[in-house]
């Protein structure tokens, strides 16, 4: 099952395990942008989607019938009245440790938690009221908390532009953990915080290892601080306390999504984009795969257009299923949804004309 968050609502696509043909339903929450979805497979599966209504405010949609219908939860995240901030967008929804435990990252960058499946929400003060919070600045997409990764008592957050924040006490307190994470867009390329992190992933089988797609594209910079050739694609082996470049061999270190193989922590996928246009280099889209933790990369483009295809893939618009032979999926801002069969060896277009795609999630249910 796929959930596809688009500019015009959320779609659900289903296929048998062969994944040859997908049946599409939707849009749900029609006409309203959806920036995050979650297929929650704990117990009876539930689907969630943020519905980011520019007229009437943010909603969280929930489906308890595998995406045949969606209803608003009783409440959406909201800042306390005395806080002074107002919710602009909902960027991430992730399962917590308890059956109805949810975490939610929003814009302006803050974290909320629900213990009742999304019917009520509490702001998490350790990061939302962090001493850095009022100093973060929005990137082009807004000041968003887009990545929430739980790892036992550790929690990793990705904020654009704020950087990577680490909690080692279950989300009570956080600290900036950006050693080696560059910020090419300012004279000091290695600040304590303020990096434009695009996405972070991890794998259970590789404790301490994280992969990051950061805001690269500064190899040619000739201003103060000098060139920053390799700040875009990074790896950490110490729970995110320090990071090093793994961008060597890629056509560009700019991109938005990064995905790790479900059965092999050494296999990681990125989708490099031209830094200036944020479209596929040379109009020829390709996913790049490393099978050795980022030491080398291979171009995967069989089945993808060879020319004249200048689409963009956003940070949450690429994912991978966890079947024995996984398939990769990515959605474009021009409304195409692609499947990369055999771990990305063969690409096919599943849907050619959806609304602009923000988010793609997959689960076997």
């Amino acid at each position: 099952m796929l959930t596809i968050g688009t500019k015009k609502g959320v779609f659900v696509a289903e296929a048998p395990k062969s994944r040859r043909i997908f049946a599409l339903r939707g849009p749900f929450g029609p006409g309203v942008p959806v920036y995050s979805t979650l297929i929650d497979t704990r117990g009876t599966p539930r689907l969630y989607a943020s519905s980011c209504n520019p007229f009437f405010g943010m909603k969280v949609l929930r489906s308890t019938d595998l995406g045949k219908s969606f209803k608003e939860t009783k409440a959406a995240p909201a800042f306390p009245k005395e806080d002074g901030r107002a919710l602009i967008n909902i960027w991430s929804l992730e399962p917590g440790s308890e059956p109805k435990d949810l975490w939610c990252g929003v814009e302006p960058a803050s974290l909320f938690r629900s213990l009742d499946g999304g019917d009520s929400w509490e702001m998490v003060p350790g990061i939302s009221n962090h001493e850095h919070a009022r100093k973060w600045n929005p990137g082009n997409g807004g000041l968003c908390m887009h990545t929430i990764i739980r790892d036992g008592n550790r929690m990793h957050l990705g904020i654009s532009t704020g950087g990577h924040y680490l909690s080692e006490d279950g989300g009570r307190t956080f600290r900036a953990a950006n050693t080696g994470v560059g910020a090419g867009f300012q004279p000091d390329p290695y600040p304590e915080f303020g990096q434009c992190v695009h996405k972070i992933v991890r794998h259970d089988a590789a404790p301490g290892r994280l992969y990051m797609q950061n805001h690269g594209g500064w190899a040619e910079w000739s201003g103060p601080g000098g060139p920053r050739p390799d700040i875009g694609v990074l790896r950490s082996d110490d729970h995110g306390k320090s990071w090093r470049s793994i961008a060597k061999g890629l056509p560009t270190d700019f991109g938005f999504p990064i995905v790790v193989h479900p059965h092999d922590p050494d296999t990681v996928y990125v989708l490099p984009l031209e830094p200036m246009t944020r479209t596929c280099p040379g109009g020829a889209p390709a996913v790049w795969r490393s099978e050795n933790g980022g030491d080398s990369w291979k171009r995967l483009a069989h089945g993808l257009p060879k020319k004249q295809s200048y689409f963009t893939i956003l940070r949450d618009a690429m994912t991978i299923d966890d079947l024995k032979t996984p398939a990769l999926y990515f959605g474009t801002t021009t409304g195409q949804l692609w499947i990369g069969r055999e771990g990305g060896e063969q690409f096919d277009c599943l849907f050619d004309a959806l609304p602009p795609i923000h988010n793609v999630k997959v689960a076997v249910v």
Binding site: F55, F56, D83, G84, A86
Partner: protein, 95 residues
């Protein structure tokens, strides 16, 4: 201080679900700001759709008193008189 007047709020279709399905909501208020305050007390879910957490009217909504956009009168301080119809309308925006 101006006395509260009986006015009617006309709700567009997307907002009716947050007010039990009604189209017109009678309310007593002296000005639009007062009306929104009363709405927050009596219809908090509906109010959250009209105003954000800080109390500001959502950016892409327009409020009319009869035929006048409150922007062209006194904003939230626009006075209300008995029989006025307050219409909440999504702005013409998007793509």
């Amino acid at each position: 201080m101006r006395a509260a007047a009986e006015v009617t709020i006309y709700l567009p279709e997307p907002l009716r679900t947050y007010a039990g399905g009604i189209v017109e909501l009678p309310i007593r208020a002296a000005a639009v700001r007062d009306m929104l305050g009363r709405l927050e007390q009596t219809q908090p879910v509906l109010h959250r759709n009209v105003c954000d957490e800080t109390g500001a009217v959502r950016r892409h909504l327009n409020i009319f008193v009869n035929a006048d956009n409150i922007r062209d009168r006194d904003g939230l301080d626009t006075a209300l008189k008995r029989g006025d119809v307050v219409t909440i309308v999504p702005a013409v925006s998007g793509g």
